[in-house]
């Protein structure tokens, strides 16, 4: 069984009389060490999945398991949240303290760890995201990308086994986005962290080993980069193929390229300049 397992999960938001189904009969597994991108149009159910992973929402039907524990059992939630950390979209909504190290220490303090251990974890977490020198500073004067890195550090200090990024780069400028993606890369490399990255930037999804596509709350594609071969299908559900792939497809239609199975500029150059 995968470290995270969704078993026929359905969830609907109740807004008055009208029920809006957000996730429908969703089955999905993530193993330890995987880097999965979860993509889908606005309203496809991506963020609902993020909230179901660590029991912020509980399934109406089906079950969600983390490390074999069901999120439906209240007594499991503490252990589950030690294993899965979620970073959300808006950096300003995630800061709770006025000093950065206090903010990052919030998680480990709640785990009841001894002060020396907390201090060590805060130092380690801030180093991981390249914010070590800001330890004594205040989060309010940071840029968006820096704030998101502190938010990631706050999650890392709990030493989770899975990091979930719920559109954590969508409110950042290109510099901030690159900072966060660099941190994700280094966590993959140095800590072998399991990462679930929710995004609708296809170029970001390309960084993952596996890409899962949601549409109308259902899982419609799940695989490696080869899913971009289904570019037309992606477009029909509000997404797009990466730019290079789109260009390659048009070139193939125009008859100047034989094979449009290309995802980066170098490969395109190679194919065209042969």
């Amino acid at each position: 069984m995968g470290f995270i397992k969704f078993e026929n999960v359905s969830y609907a938001y109740n807004s008055g009389a009208a029920e809006t189904p957000a996730v429908v009969d969703f089955s999905f597994e993530v193993n330890e060490g995987e880097f999965v991108a979860l993509v889908g149009h606005n309203g496809s159910g991506k963020s609902t999945v993020a909230k179901l992973v660590n029991g912020l929402l509980l399934p109406d039907e089906g079950a969600v398991y983390v490390d074999g524990m069901s999120t439906a059992e209240r007594s499991n939630l503490f252990e589950i949240r030690k294993r899965v950390g979620v970073v959300f979209q808006n950096p300003d909504n995630q800061m709770i303290a006025t000093i950065i190290e206090d903010d990052v220490a919030f998680g480990p303090e709640n785990l009841g760890l001894p002060p020396a251990e907390i201090s060590a974890r805060v130092g380690w977490a801030l180093e991981c995201v390249g914010m070590g020198e800001h330890r004594k500073g205040t989060p309010f004067r940071l840029s968006g990308g820096q704030k998101q890195r502190v938010a990631i550090a706050g999650v890392l200090a709990i030493k989770p086994r899975v990091l979930v990024l719920d559109e954590s780069t969508s409110m950042l400028d290109p510099v901030g986005r690159a900072e966060v993606l660099r941190v994700v890369g280094s966590l993959r490399k140095n800590e072998n962290m399991t990462v679930i990255m929710i995004t609708h930037f296809m170029e970001e999804a390309l960084l993952a080993d596996r890409i899962a596509v949601l549409n109308g709350g259902r899982l419609v594609m799940d695989g490696g980069r080869e899913i971009f071969k289904r570019a037309e299908e992606l477009e029909s559900i509000g997404l797009s193929a990466p730019l290079v792939k789109r260009v390659a497809m048009k070139l193939r239609k125009a008859g100047v390229l034989d094979d449009d199975d290309i995802l980066d500029a170098d490969a395109l150059a190679g194919a065209l300049c042969r």
């Binding site: 606005n42 510099v175 125009a254």
Partner: protein, 324 residues
């Protein structure tokens, strides 16, 4: 001239330990019919500059003139100004508040004490402009609409003031690819039929490059330059000095040009890139056959980029048809 700023400077919390110089001597002219893109890092002064255009931020030093209105005096005809400049903030859907779409969109005109018939007319016109079905949505609560629809309603609320100048701060942030494409399409339509002058702040270089005729680069509160996209993105020195990303299209064009493909490095639009590659490939095949004298080939290479692209687009387009 819709907007002129001269030596515009602004300091937040002046004379305090937290004083921050947000604008530093910005002199800028936005002409009628411009689609001006404003780029720069977070904190470079983009939003402070835009805030001056409808006097949300008042002139501290320097001069701002919008459609002939001098914004320096303390007392201003705010009604006139705010029906001249429509401002769409980031995540404008967070500003929806009224019980029905109709009332929300009509809020601005109601404050202008416009007769009810005309308000209804403006609401209809604005909702149709943003691609919503007037009868279908007018009585619905804005809060039960989807994210993309909410953003359209918010935009309609600004358009109901019938502004001549539209200022948009990150209009596509947080939207999925289709939502982004739809909002941009809508902005182009609004520009064509309603507000001839549009100013768009964005971090997305492809969006800016493909839509704007001029790009203003802000850095540390100063205006670095105002250039057409084709020129800005070939200025390696400027891009490097100010940490400006190239549009993805331009990056690919450069990667291909580096490998010896004969295409301009200044391309900023996806379709132009495709057309240029098609033309280059065809050209390469022709060049391989000795029919074309070398001089003619050279002359062709000297055509300015924009023409070359148009030419390529035309060629590419025609030949695409015959290939199908």
């Amino acid at each position: 001239m819709p907007i002129v700023t001269e030596q515009l400077s602004y300091v937040y919390s002046p004379k305090s330990p937290f004083a921050k110089q947000a604008l530093n001597g910005v002199t800028l002219t936005v002409a009628d019919g411009d689609f001006l893109g404003v780029i720069g890092h977070t904190g470079s002064g983009k939003s402070t500059l835009a805030g001056h255009f409808n006097a949300l931020i008042r002139v501290q030093s320097g001069r701002v003139e919008v459609d002939g209105i001098d914004l320096r005096p303390k007392k201003l005809d705010f009604k006139l100004l705010r029906s001249t400049v429509g401002m769409v903030f980031q995540y404008p859907e967070y500003q929806l508040f009224d019980e029905s779409v109709e009332r929300d969109v009509g809020f601005g005109p109601r404050n202008l004490k416009i007769p009810p018939d005309e308000i209804a007319e403006r609401v209809r016109e604005s909702l149709e402009m943003v691609g919503l079905d007037y009868e279908g949505v007018r009585r619905r609560s804005p809060f039960e609409l989807s994210g993309g629809q909410k953003r359209r309603v918010a935009l309609a609320g600004v358009l109901a003031m019938r502004p001549k100048i539209l200022v948009l701060d990150e209009p596509t942030a947080g939207l999925d690819p289709r939502g982004k494409a739809e909002i941009l399409e809508l902005i182009r339509r609004v520009k064509k039929y309603m507000c001839p002058t549009v100013i768009m702040i964005s971090h997305n270089m492809d969006e800016i490059a493909a839509n704007c005729n001029k790009i203003a680069v802000m850095s540390g509160g100063s205006l670095v330059c105002v250039l057409p996209p084709e020129e800005l993105f070939t200025r390696g020195d400027l891009l490097k000095e100010h940490g400006i990303e190239m549009p993805a299209v331009t990056r690919i064009a450069n990667a291909l040009a580096d490998r010896g493909l004969d295409i301009p490095r200044s391309l900023v639009r996806e379709d132009d890139l495709v057309a240029a590659i098609v033309a280059a490939k065809r050209g390469a095949i022709k060049a391989a056959t000795p029919a074309k004298p070398e001089r003619a080939q050279k002359a062709e290479n000297n055509i300015p980029h924009t023409d070359a692209v148009k030419d390529a687009a035309k060629k590419g387009g025609d030949e695409c048809v015959t290939f199908r």
